[in-house]
Symmetry: C2
Subunit: 436 residues, 2 copies
Amino acid sequence: MRILNKDTAAEIGKEISINGWLHKKRMLGGLTFINVRDRSGLVQVVIEDKKESEKLRGMQIGTVLEITGKVKEEPRAPGGAEMYEPTITVMVPVTEEPPIEIDKPLSHKSEHLETLFENRVVGLRNLQETAIFKIQAKVLEAAREYFIQNGFTEMNTPKLLAEATEGGAEVFKLDYFGKEATLAQSAQFYKQMMVGVFERVFETNPTYRAELSATTRHMSEYITIDAELGFITFDELREFAHQLLKHIVDRVWEAYEPELKRWNAQKPLLSDNAVSMPLAEVHELFEKKTKQIVEDKKDLTPAEEKWITEYAKKNLGTEALFVTEWPSNDMKFYHKKMDDKPELAERSDFLFRGLEIMTCPMREHRYDVLVQQLKDKLGADPSDPGFKYYLQAFKHGLPPHGGFGLGLERLTQRIIGLNNVKEATLFPRDINRLTP
Amino acid sequence: MRILNKDTAAEIGKEISINGWLHKKRMLGGLTFINVRDRSGLVQVVIEDKKESEKLRGMQIGTVLEITGKVKEEPRAPGGAEMYEPTITVMVPVTEEPPIEIDKPLSHKSEHLETLFENRVVGLRNLQETAIFKIQAKVLEAAREYFIQNGFTEMNTPKLLAEATEGGAEVFKLDYFGKEATLAQSAQFYKQMMVGVFERVFETNPTYRAELSATTRHMSEYITIDAELGFITFDELREFAHQLLKHIVDRVWEAYEPELKRWNAQKPLLSDNAVSMPLAEVHELFEKKTKQIVEDKKDLTPAEEKWITEYAKKNLGTEALFVTEWPSNDMKFYHKKMDDKPELAERSDFLFRGLEIMTCPMREHRYDVLVQQLKDKLGADPSDPGFKYYLQAFKHGLPPHGGFGLGLERLTQRIIGLNNVKEATLFPRDINRLTP
């Protein structure tokens, strides 16, 4: 296969051939400079020869080229080297200008996002955009690496289900050979069942929510990094999630520090170990320090989420914080009450840079208690196909376990500092958008 | 966290605690032996003490245990060590027998498959079953490793689409906020568009086909390992796919040789480099050697697929073979004709152990030719939302490119030697099955 552009600095003094796209063209003091883009970035090519510069006349951005030339050191060029005395061959001509600029940062103002998404196919060729998704790919790679190092088995569970697992709201329904099927809103039930098989499981998988409102935080399709661990305490679970986040952040900064700088992203401050604070304490601190009143003490307001992570950054040495001790009245049927304080649930919300990135709870693992909570909370029939197989796993022995689902796009958004989760999605889907 | 069972051999002479499930119980010469299962496999525990053996009376398989005891060398025990003088604590009691045996190999005869799938949640605790999915997880890990080593970017593309990309057959449709959406039958169009951005992309993603018949080869939901490469020739593409398969097979055998032996799986014979044979030559060889006539020369029959890979194993030193030079009359609109023989397409089918595991074609990358083929083959309107964005990528420059989609379950099936693709699927979906 052909030479990678990223190797140009290693080719100084040699003649090489490269392939790529015309990315930028400019004239300077009688010389023509072009930037050629491939999967490794840009190579600068300087053209003196009249016959060769003539080829560039009218050539559009995106034209697919093969260039043969010599390589010399040039500290001001991308990669520290440039090509000169080139012979340029057009492999695929392009006759139209791109519909969106690809050599300058694109506007991410909220009023320009629809233009950004409508022209995604070409706009992603902008290297500032490409960087978002290179970083996102590294988040996934780092997460999987951490799971595998820690004895997890990767699994693939179906997204076509017989019934919605937690009632009917926000569920996509479809015709499945004459029966009704739903699209999975979560892999949670499968994760729990598979704790009985693999003890520790993970899955990186699409998740579907029929969100009726268009917000900066929600989409109808997104990727969740799901994990579930058996034989674990609530403290160990939170510590695991914290170390996972640290591992991801470290790997991303190792690989993409220059790209992160272009987005003005600062490496997050993360404490050595997980830091947790009970919900009541967050309310108390917030009210005392901001002189504001929190009406609904059963939940965190967006203002509190923002304030408490800023507080944690200044006072607790971390931008990621677990909020614990949630009222058990409001919990899901599968959550576990605290043994010593049954009015509270063993649930935590993991806040990172002002936003909840995951709920991180222990599950009720005792069959009898779970069946009772299912009846009490949902009024559901345990023999219903949506619960029957799930409960079978408990009946035949599940240990204490807990887990979480980490939204890939939300995490990417927080790492880079983007305003809208859709900016961190290749092809976002919401109530208004089903293309490209 | 607690001690892993796989570490027991390293703990000889010490007292340790383990957690796991009661997997098997037997009496032998006045002693009680139990096997305890966790994510690393089995630990044998020998019980002499009356008080401790009494605890085991009536204890069901699946009971969740904590066991503290001493470790000694025992070559006949799993892992080469066993625990003795144990103190047994029941963490979670189980009162019912498992609905399916978990300590002996389960029947995979076709008439028993429905029982296997109906009891999947418990049946997967059988270590012979678990092995299938440990191997499958390694296939995914090895594939991603190979892509990342070769400069690919991982991407996540939507499964909710505005229109079916290639007509309406075998498509699941759903209501998307009052509009019609379809579930993606393939990530192919997105892969091609993203060649213009990342040059080399991969995705491991669910794929949906509304298959009307129940066969051993088809499911309505499965995982595809998708890859697409720009700036590549047809020969290089096949070589890449062949090396990917070799890498996966090597990694799987390194990690799971004992488990593969339990399934009587032989390591596939794979040649150093890709081996290809034109379709016409396959027909000729088959007819000459088997004295059978092939009626339809435009395709391979299942009998030919089986015969030619056996032939290749004996005569060409490989169990994987590319069949090339397919008639272009039958090709898809996005396939590319051979430059020197336009009656043939630059397409190959990759056969492995008697089964096609992927189609591996070059794509037509020239905008004008592609638009013409779209009109000629499908009679489609290039401004249709299903094609508009796709064609935009070509209009703004795509290089010669090709790719493939490798079915994860089919590959796992072939590696292990299972008869039905559903046996290599955690929770299979077909026309008759939407649970568990």
